[in-house]
Symmetry: C2
Subunit: 274 residues, 2 copies
């Protein structure tokens, strides 16, 4: 696979074996689409980087530097992954306040995705893995992602596009690599992510689009029964955009008006990207 990458700006750089990103998952990341050299939904990606950097006490590079490096690895269309770690160090969990962070900017080919998924919706499953609760880390897209790895390893059927994850309290939290929204009688809601889950940049954009449209979206606990009773269910992430959920076990849904509205909103926003 062709991967163009910069390690602290260096195309020939490599990651130290003692990097704390590898040793402890001591870092954060973002995955985003670049179209014609422009990172999509950049405002929200940047805001999430800053928020997640704050969660770990990690400095976040200047936006201009990141933009330049994205343009270098991805002058056209690409999927770009940014990884920020606390950098190489000796041993032990303690770190120096002036630790020198590691910055990775990598370009991958845009994954092939069927337009059918966005148009007709996707089948999902409910994962057996139950997410743990850690309020100190919840919401952040950090490098401790073993729960997602274990959950994603639960199925291989390519007809199942995502796996839903819940917490031990009986709430739906997210999908393995996407956020979840539900709507009933026009009222939109997405799980509260203050104890578990990753607050994605696409989720942030949909929340902003909803706010701008005066729709409003509750951030709250959502039980599995409520999820199944919803009129509409959809998934968001920065690569897929928005996929309606069409099936979970015996339950079937048709793509609804809110999914269509936010799909259009995402497209318009992407077209305006600076």
């Amino acid at each position: 696979m062709r991967v163009l990458r910069l390690v602290n700006g260096n195309p020939h750089g490599s990651v130290e074996a003692t990097d704390r990103g590898l040793a402890y998952g001591d870092g954060i990341f973002r995955t985003l689409l670049v179209r014609g050299g422009r990172p999509l939904n950049w405002k929200h990606h940047l805001a999430r980087l800053v928020a997640d950097g704050g969660t770990l006490g990690l400095p976040v590079p200047e936006p201009e530097l990141l933009r330049r490096e994205i343009a270098t690895v991805a002058p056209g269309d690409a999927l770009v992954k940014i990884v920020l770690t606390r950098g190489a160090s000796g041993r032990g969990y303690a770190f120096a306040a002036d630790a020198s962070p590691t910055r990775l900017v990598m370009a991958f080919p845009v994954p092939a995705s069927s337009a059918t998924y966005a148009a007709e919706g996707v089948a999902v499953r409910r994962c057996a893995l139950v997410l743990s609760e850690q309020p100190r880390l919840a919401g952040a897209k950090h490098l401790n992602r073993l729960e997602s790895v274990l959950a994603r390893s639960e199925w291989t059927d390519p007809a199942i596009r995502e796996g839903l994850l819940g917490d031990a309290r009986g709430h739906v939290i997210e999908a393995t690599a996407a956020n979840v929204f539900i709507a009933r009688d026009g009222a939109l809601a997405t799980p509260d992510l203050s104890r578990s889950g990753v607050a994605g940049a696409q989720r942030a954009r949909v929340l902003a689009l909803a706010r701008d449209a005066g729709i409003g979206c509750a951030l709250r606990d959502i039980g599995w029964d409520e999820f199944l009773a919803a009129d509409e269910v959809f998934l968001t992430n920065s690569v897929i955009g928005l996929w309606p959920v069409a099936r979970l076990g015996e339950r079937r849904w048709s793509p609804g008006p809110l999914a269509r509205r936010f799909q259009a909103g995402i497209e318009e926003d992407d077209a305006r990207a600076p």
Copy 2:
């Protein structure tokens, strides 16, 4: 800092920027002491590697290969860290069943440690961070260690040698980089690690020494009140060996007979190491 290392056996190898160990913490590790080229407590380290590999579905290299690589990076005295990851891959949480793992064997200088700590005991604190519960990962020394990093960043006072961590149910679980034992009226106990915590190789050796001596040690939930009421409290890990706890806040302890007995047992076992 001088670090001798092998990446998949190669002294000039480096870790791919797309390694899943870095991307997701998708891997396990061990930290052990090597004396005169011999890895100490090797039997238990190997057993833990196999157990933790099983937890993640990661293949563990042949013991002979690991022994050879340890001898290469650490012909004398050293601290050796072994890291096994699921290897480099493309993007996404899914992995191929035949993913080619990454093997790191690194030597560091043996950290300077005061003999006073083992002789007189150490001061510890109680960390504010509360460990999450994930039965699917509990016990394993995997690379998702952000909780330990956050907990260790809670204090800088060098007089405090460790921080104790508990779960949301009010149990003591472990220290940031050590396991915990308590004794009262000669009865030994160590926290059950089936929901949180790392089951260290030194803990496994102390459990084996206790069994061999007919002492017995309960693996069970231990509340903070019970912890404070214990006659003896001590910490174990592969680098420090065994440290009696001498102080937690206002509570003070003197090193007790069980701590002394297991310190001697560890020393004898190390002297016999093959």
